[in-house]
């Protein structure tokens, strides 16, 4: 039974990730006074894109076609080391948290290469911004995970999240709260959400992620959309697993975690409704500040 339950985290992510995007969009629409798209709209978008044919520019090479596939493959592979709160992941080994960071970086690398391969200066600009922020966001993620590893006393994501009990929260409230704040910022940064980038804009000069994927079409674009949803779920579950310290049998954890993810969708929707996008120069400061929170938590846990 335990082995079967460990399949739940990747399964939930694969099935429910687009729903999380739907929840965010719906929240934003309701706050703005509109009815908004149906919750299942992201699934329909992916489905629609999948049925279409892909168009490739004459100047692009295989790198362009490989980008979305590699990105999706990376993000989906990470799901297999990512626990869902107290439910352990199917694969767990010492140091798998580095695998998580590494695979996410590889996926980003593939996307950036694909964007550069188009030869369009517009996409090159997006790629440049993406890696500019990634340089700051990846150390922040590693610092946050290191702080969690230190407080949880383990080096594997499943073991770390199993150790994050309410008792530990009571004992190390300030440290864990700091890490949670970093993870919330990272959820926004890594997925290009509002204070960093606006996911709804399509042809403005201040965008990051949407710029890079402008030239993709058909199934490739479906992969990108689905991959982005899964990544949103992935980093979100890092945060929710920390903030919702319900541990025990899987039928106890699962509803708590799913409720937590829904709440995360609401929170992101509210943040996006309440905040404006930062000026581009402000963004690095924002990310470095978030990384600092984790550094403080880590040093607090070391001492």
């Amino acid at each position: 039974m335990a082995a079967a339950a460990s399949l739940l985290p990747p399964l939930c992510a694969l099935l429910l990730a687009p729903l999380l995007v739907g929840v965010i969009n719906r929240t934003k629409a309701i706050i703005a006074g509109r009815r908004g798209p149906p919750l299942l709209q992201p699934y329909r978008d992916v489905h629609k894109a999948l049925r279409r044919g892909a168009v490739y520019g004459d100047v692009t090479s295989w790198v362009f076609a490989a980008g979305p596939v590699i990105n999706l493959a990376c993000v989906v592979s990470v799901l297999f080391v990512m626990p869902l709160g107290g439910i352990t992941a199917p694969v767990a080994f010492t140091g798998d948290l580095v695998v998580l960071v590494g695979l996410l970086a590889l996926g980003r690398f593939a996307t950036v290469l694909a964007a550069l391969d188009t030869g369009s200066s517009f996409e090159g600009m997006g790629a440049s911004r993406e890696v500019h922020f990634a340089v700051l966001a990846e150390p922040a993620l590693l610092l946050a995970l290191a702080a969690l590893a230190r407080t949880g006393g383990a080096m594997s994501l499943s073991a770390i999240y199993a150790a994050l009990t309410p008792a530990l929260w009571l004992a190390l409230l300030p440290n864990l709260a700091l890490v949670a704040m970093t993870l919330l910022v990272l959820e926004l940064v890594e997925n290009s959400r509002i204070p960093i980038d606006d996911p709804t804009t399509h042809l403005e000069l201040t965008m990051i992620h949407e710029v890079m994927v402008l030239d993709h079409s058909g199934p490739d674009f479906a992969f990108i959309q689905y991959g982005a949803a899964v990544k949103l779920w992935l980093i979100g579950s890092l945060l929710v697993g920390l903030v919702v310290p319900v541990r025990g049998a899987w039928w106890l954890c699962l509803p708590a975690m799913l409720a937590g993810m829904a709440a995360l969708g609401l929170v992101i929707g509210m943040i996006e409704s309440a905040m404006a996008r930062y000026r581009l120069i402000k963004v690095p400061q924002f990310i470095v500040g978030a990384a600092t929170l984790s550094a403080v938590a880590l040093i607090g846990a070391l001492a």
């Binding site: 230190r150 407080t151 949880g152 006393g153 383990a154 080096m155 530990l168 009571l170 004992a171 190390l172 409230l173 300030p174 440290n175 700091l178 690095p284 400061q285 470095v288 500040g289 600092t292 929170l293 550094a295 403080v296 938590a297 040093i299 607090g300 846990a301 070391l302 001492a303």
Partner: protein
């Protein structure tokens, strides 16, 4: 590898841990904020937090001495100094920006390095100061480093007063946890010195501002004969 879970972190250590984290964050806020007014408010917040430490630290024998010390600290560093500084800022007609020599991101990165350094120093000092709370020892060294950095890293004379007061907070905290049985008179004397210091600096800034039309300490090079 269960270092983070050391001991049952209940009551006192957890409270000290909270003070440490809040103190560290206020320092990072000071390093990363671009507005002088916000810096002064963070300084006031810091003054209140560290002013209350005497009450936490001696929870077994809480007497009039601790109460008086805490009250004097909170009143001076939390209320009087910030009000004085805000008044100077309101009087002088200059831009509200901090004007750093060292950029904000670089300052925050300096903070992280300084934090590592202070942990290392605190670890080295720990054998000699067995009774001192490690969290506060580390925090006090960090405060001293950040205070010094703010003094050299910011152009506006007002920010140098802020740096001086952060430094003062650090020294106060360090004395509090390492030296036992300091006479109350000495502690209050130190506070009085800080008060006079801030007062004199306020007057100096006022004159600098009137003479040069700005608080940039850079302008003082014009005084060379």
């Amino acid at each position: 590898m269960t270092g983070g879970m050391t001991g049952a972190m209940t009551g006192l250590p957890a409270l000290l841990n909270a003070v440490q984290v809040v103190g560290l964050l206020s320092c990072f806020a000071l390093l990363g904020t671009s507005r002088i007014g916000a810096c002064i408010r963070w300084l006031s917040f810091q003054g209140v937090v560290f002013g209350l430490v005497p009450l936490i630290l001696h929870d077994d024998g809480l007497g009039a001495r601790e109460a008086l010390l805490a009250a004097a600290n909170v009143a001076l560093k939390g209320v009087v100094f910030p009000m004085l500084l805000l008044r100077i800022r309101a009087r002088a007609d200059f831009s509200r920006e901090v004007d750093p020599f060292v950029g904000y991101i670089a300052s925050i990165l300096f903070g992280v390095v300084a934090l590592g350094l202070s942990v290392w120093l605190a670890l080295a000092m720990k054998p000699a100061l067995a009774r001192a709370s490690f969290a506060l020892l580390e925090t006090s060294i960090f405060l001293i480093l950040v205070g010094l950095f703010l003094i050299v890293g910011r152009k506006k004379a007002l920010m140098q007063v802020v740096g001086y007061l952060v430094l003062e907070n650090g020294i106060f905290l360090f004395g509090l946890i390492t030296v036992e049985g300091t006479p109350l008179l000495v502690e209050l004397g130190v506070l009085l010195d800080a008060f006079v210091g801030v007062f004199v600096m306020g007057i100096a800034i006022f004159h600098i501002n009137r003479e040069f039309g700005s608080m940039d300490v850079d302008r003082l090079t014009a005084l060379r004969g």
